[in-house]
Symmetry: C2
Subunit: 508 residues, 2 copies
């Protein structure tokens, strides 16, 4: 990642909070091992943390070996080398960056309620618009217990760990909280550390006030009040930031200022801001040049027989919010409209199975398989199947497909950002066209260089796929170049720098 500009006047240290840890310890054959934490956010925060002079990172202990490491340090921070070979720091670590890690352990039953009953099913579903009247939660004793005895105490435990770190630094710090697992942390930290500068970044969409009425005030008001402990509540899009403020107004009755994008709470100003997250462009391009990706690209090219054959690609988790079934339906409809394309266009879907222990998610994977079978069966006389479904998590293959595809489709019902669109834009070398849902955060930046789709409209998505496949080469080239330029300019370093600049004194 590029160097981040640190503005003057920020209170040190930076205290980060994320649910996932940047390192996972395990015990294999009696030996302690460690590997880097997975996921885009943790990767980005790791890059940030290793650039900062004074940083502490609070996160969840993910397994028994994490707990053992934490206990060896008597519950205080563990100094960890965050390199490609992460380890507990001992003795001289040379140039390798060392970050103090506070691994918070909570009782597993409490954690299950917090994570598996509130954050992932209920908050994720509300914020991605996945509920309707039939599918909404029936809030009974289990859900109330999960909130009261799971989400609340786990949030307070993490808040206390964060506040401990701030107090240890003398009470002033820049606290950067992350995501929907921790809506009750900021106001607790504010209570204990009134001089801390607190921001929270929410990486999923924030819907309007109506959506929150699925929860009773005893839950929803507390979640919103928790966030109002921040100085800045940050989102990927202006729309989410506005929705947050109108939620504050409608649910709590506070008067918000949509021009200044702020609200006064207890004599403090809380700002809502948008900073679109991005990717490490140089890092991704390095990967795209690697032999591993080259091998995958060769295989892919062989599988497309004809010279004029075209490749449509999607890369997603099998989450209903990704709208995978309607994407296939639109592809099937397009082939029916334009039978001359059958046998000439392949739809490669690289899908990572997700949350298969949740019945709705398991059923959704079934629907995906059924729709693919229906389309492929219709064209059983072709040299190849129109849809090539691969349920894999294979980053080199995904990058190879990014570089080769003619069309990348992202038709999500709702998506905080969607980095797939940004990744493909910077590594594609085939004048690929983005077909991009209006309901993704990426659409705010890339929409004008993409073919926009409306996620419930299968007719329109079919037409959009056809438009992308038949777009003249020079128009394709110009659109891709413009999209790539946007991503290069607004990269992950720019994302951090913009937040830090807004948090520096003098801006508020």
């Amino acid at each position: 990642m590029k160097r981040i500009e640190m503005p003057a006047g920020l209170p040190g240290p930076v205290v980060l909070l994320s649910h996932r840890a940047p390192v996972a310890f395990r015990r294999t054959d009696g030996e302690r091992t460690a590997r880097r934490g997975a996921g885009g956010l943790v990767t980005a925060l790791t890059d940030l943390a290793t650039q900062l002079d004074d940083v502490r990172w609070v996160c969840a202990a993910g397994g028994s070996e994490d707990v053992a490491v934490a206990e060896e340090h008597e519950g205080t921070s563990v100094p960890v080398v965050l390199s490609d070979e992460p380890r507990v720091a001992e003795g001289d670590t040379g140039d390798d960056p060392v970050v103090p890690l506070r691994l918070v352990d909570v009782p597993s039953e409490q954690h299950d309620r917090f994570y598996g009953e509130i954050a992932n099913p209920i908050l994720w579903f509300i914020q991605h618009g996945l509920y309707g009247v039939w599918s909404s939660p029936d809030l009974g004793d289990d859900e109330h217990r999960a909130f009261d005895e799971g989400y609340v105490p786990v949030n307070l435990a993490f808040a206390d760990a964060v506040a401990d770190e701030v107090e240890a630094a003398g009470g002033t710090a820049l606290v950067m909280l992350h995501d929907y697992h921790f809506y009750l942390v900021a106001d607790r930290v504010r209570e204990r550390c009134p001089d801390a500068l607190i921001s929270q970044f929410i990486h999923i969409p924030w819907p309007g006030p109506d959506a929150w009425r699925v929860l009773p005030p005893s839950m929803r008001d507390r979640l919103v009040r928790g966030l109002l402990g921040c100085d800045v509540v940050a989102f990927h899009t202006e729309g989410s930031a506005r929705n947050f403020l109108t939620t504050v107004q409608e649910l709590l009755g506070l008067r918000v200022d949509l021009d200044a994008m702020s609200v006064e709470v207890d004599g403090r100003t809380v700002r809502a801001r948008a900073y679109p997250i991005s990717i490490d462009v140089a890092g991704l391009r390095d990967l795209a040049e690697s032999p591993a990706v080259a091998r995958k690209a060769e295989d892919l090219e062989e599988s497309l027989a004809g010279e004029d054959d075209q490749l449509i690609l999607r890369v997603d988790r099998t989450d209903p919010s990704k709208n995978i079934v309607r994407g296939f339906q639109a592809f099937g409809l397009m082939l029916e409209d334009h039978p001359e394309l059958a046998g000439k266009v392949r739809f490669l879907a690289l899908l990572q199975p997700s949350r298969q222990d949740v019945p709705d998610y398991a059923a959704y994977l079934g629907q995906i398989g059924a729709e693919v079978a229906r389309i492929n069966a219709q064209y059983d006389d072709l040299a190849f199947e129109p849809v090539d479904l691969r349920l894999v998590q294979d980053l080199p293959l995904a990058v190879a497909a990014y570089s080769l595809c003619d069309v990348l489709i992202v038709n999500a019902v709702a998506d905080g950002m969607n980095l797939v669109a940004k990744e493909a834009a910077v590594v594609n070398r085939n004048d690929g066209v983005l077909v991009l849902s209006e309901n993704t955060g990426s659409h705010q930046e890339l929409g004008e260089h993409a073919v926009t789709v409306y996620p419930f409209d299968i007719r329109q998505q079919a037409d959009a796929l056809y438009e992308a496949l038949t777009m003249p080469r020079d128009e394709r080239r110009a659109k891709l170049a413009a999209a790539a330029a946007v991503v290069e300019r607004n990269d992950i370093a720019a994302w951090f720098s913009a937040q830090l600049a807004d948090l520096a004194p003098g801006d508020g």
Copy 2:
């Protein structure tokens, strides 16, 4: 209905538009018969129309005899006597009020698409929050055709009929459009009659902008732009009026003024306003005193054996938005919590089957029956079944039950107003307690005199039912009296008068 005050300066005549007609003609045994149109809105508009000196009413021809009547008048207005015995006016009609009725006939295939494919399934579902990702519409060729070849031409046909009436009156008139069937009428009338004063009342909730993204811009933008042809767009609640303006801002990018509650469009000011609809209090009390109601009340009282027995009531159409299943689940949970109440509390549900040709609605009725059976089977040793489910439409029975019940539950997921709550408040004579959803329009006026429920929270609804059943008698009495006083003050005449006062020149 009480006399409505007509403010000075309103342009005459008043041109009303509603989908339903105030009279329905039929042919029985070769004879033409006529009966009054059903439904609360038509009843209220009939009362209004008969008070106005100069009024024309545009509505849909509902059957072949309506079409025959219209044809006999060569497509122009039919003078109709709107009394208890409605008829085409001929010769001297004495004191009976005559209203010119314009019965608009559109091709039945077009009407089916307009009504059965767009207005009732799609707009109703969007505006009541009934869609989730799994239940949202898949917009394909059928839905696009239903919009383009149904909703659009039917709206234009009605708009032209309205504009004809305005032009016949010299181009100035007060045009009062009603409901979600006619979102494309106002701007067409505005085009043909720039001097008309146009208002449209929307009787169902208006959700925030997110909900409208189920539709592509080719539909949603057109619907919203159509409404912006009005001078005033009216709703039952301030929340719906605010949601309308934020929808205009987010979808059309127009800057709205939430303080003035207005938006500038093409040099005109369009205002969003809230006028909570109500009931004809005197008319309902007359009915409550009738022998028919007295007989039903006697039967009901006999069915409650013990002196201390209590009656919970609900009166609804079997629409999923009414949240009937969760209401029974909450009742079942309350009986499990408080077994001492089993055998002492009966839940009478008067439910009118609704839209049984729609699969989701038929399935919902099945869920209702299943939940009732589950609860009643659990208490098979009692003298009476805890739930008394009656699938009937019986107004005298409903009014009798209003007057006798201890608790009325209205736990709708979303409801523009809900008049059941207001009706029960003015005829109950048993210090009955309202248990009222926060998501009904009525809650804005009656919430502080009711026990509020949160429609997805079964635990909370169970507790609320128990609270209502065990509330001290003097608290019950005070709450009911306060609720009744609100309804008496804000009755249906006040609803009209407030709209007319706002529309009179000098107010805008």
